[in-house]
Amino acid sequence: MRILNTYNYYLNYTVEQLLADDFFIESIKHSSEESDAFWEEVLKRGIVNKKDFDLACFLLTAMQTKKERISPGEVSQLWEDIEIANKTTINKKRRKERFICSFIAAASVLFAVGFSLFEIYILKSHNHISIENVKAPLFSSTDIQLMLGGNKAVSLKGDTVKVSYKGNKVNVNEEALNLSESTNAGNQQEYNQLVVPFGKHSMLTFNDGTKVWVNAGTRVVYPVSFKNDKREIYIDGEIFLDVKHNEKWPFIVKTSRMEIQVKGTSFNVMAYARDIDQQVVLVSGRVHIVEKNRFKTDLHPNEMFVDNGVTTKVRTVDVKDYILWKQGLYKYDSERLDVIMKRLSRYYNKSINCNVDVAFYKCSGKLDMNMDLDEVLKGISLTAPVSFNIQNGKYIISHK
């Protein structure tokens, strides 16, 4: 911006000169107190002829074009098309690059080992980190991991594990977790986290009686004991909650993009931070959703809130379909095949690739995920024109 005492710079400026001046254009299009005061002074001193100034302003505003507008419906349709096209294109590219990637992956593991020492050091020096900034464990495990205070991790064996907090004790599958004196659940300030890898499940019970069903590939962060003013947890993944009612003690679920505030209800949240879609489905009671800086909404029972990254929608659904995963069932209604496969891949912790020509088939049905993956895929190949084969432990779904 021009230094403001150089009024004389504009001495006897003509309409043409004003309209060729960046500062003039900016002042009129995005006026600020500073620029208004500047031009007021210029006019008061007669440095620029007022008629010229007014004419320049008039012409500038006259040059605004009539805009053809895109409708909100078109905006979200176009976004969906872009997402689909992105996935298709990336898939094609990926097949070529997979070979190169395996080399890079090996190299980055070496890097990570060096980096972890540094990371732990930094974490220790900050005592008050907010819940959403608690770091995920650096190394993923094929077991369910319970991270206690002081960076102590406990691996829990088994495909489904129940973890519950009672007073100062932590129970795993109804048995008290044997903790040495120095590492109990951690002090009041600290967070614990439960990390459930793909292919596993867990159920978590908090001190206040709230129950959380944790789906595969999910990380839940929570304080050792809830603060007096609110009960707050953070999730990256999918959970179903049955929140113990307490009018004066709000329960808040944070995800990478939203904050869900409740008093006592049961609802399902699917919000994997690396997915673009996030959704909340309410079974009973009422929830209030606040999205980062922009959107607030109240949800009623049998409603689903979806944020696809660009727009948000609320629609009525059959909530039973969305919580069937608790019993190992999965129901889908005209869902894209690649979305179904992504879910199966998470559940069974197997790599499943959908060929592009079948990825966008819409399928409806119900799967029993207590059966093994081959059985489930056989079931799908009976109803849709697809077949599957296994190459190097990876499932590939292609056209029949």
């Binding site: 309409v15 043409e16 309209l19 060729a20 960046d22 254009i25 900016e26 009129i28 299009k29 995005h30 006026s31 208004d36 031009w39 007021e40 006019l43 007022k50 008629k51 100034f53 007014d54 004419l55 302003c57 008039f58 012409l59 500038l60 505003t61 006259a62 040059m63 605004q64 074009t65 009539k66 805009k67 053809e68 507008r69 895109i70 078109e74 905006v75 176009l78 976004w79 098309d81 872009i82 096209a85 992105n86 294109t89 990336i90 590219k93 690396r274 673009i276 990254g309 660009v310």
Partner: protein
Amino acid sequence: MTESDDNEELIEWKKFLKGDDRAFVYFYKKYIDILFSYGMCFTADRELVKDCIQELFVNMYCHRSKLNSTNHVKFYLFRALKNILINAFCKGPHFDSLDVVSISYSTDYTIEDKLIEDEQDQVRKENIIHVLELLTSHQKEAIYYRYVEELSLDEISVMMNMNYQSIRNLLQRAIKKMRSTFSDRNFSVKISIEKDSRYL
């Protein structure tokens, strides 16, 4: 565009180049309206414009490792969209000769009603729109970049594939034409900038 807005945008651009998909969503949401109305200045075919915007964003997403850092995202997006539109025109049924392909810009003008204070201004408004309609397609396009989207002269010369001086002359001639409509005698326009009337 304000400076802090510019900064925020460059930070998002860096995040995007590093692989952050949320930054990609940010640019889509921020620019979809502007890009659409810009595209519609070259054709009346809404579907074609949407297809081209889709191609633009898919290219951006899938080839992000090949994208350069830019210091003006809007300029990058405009230029990319215009190139895609030109390619689409080449392939389409509109062109069957091997002439140099150019697409022509056209638009309607409007003056926001809140700026018009009385009937005399109404007449003036009609006059100026009449003059604007008489400008050449090149002049209209340059005016759009300069006064609506506020690109720099350097950026405009890249957009229009013309040198800096030609762009200056083009703009100057257009302004002169508009200016000549209003002799000093009949012009005492009343415009309010913001809501106050300090310039009246």
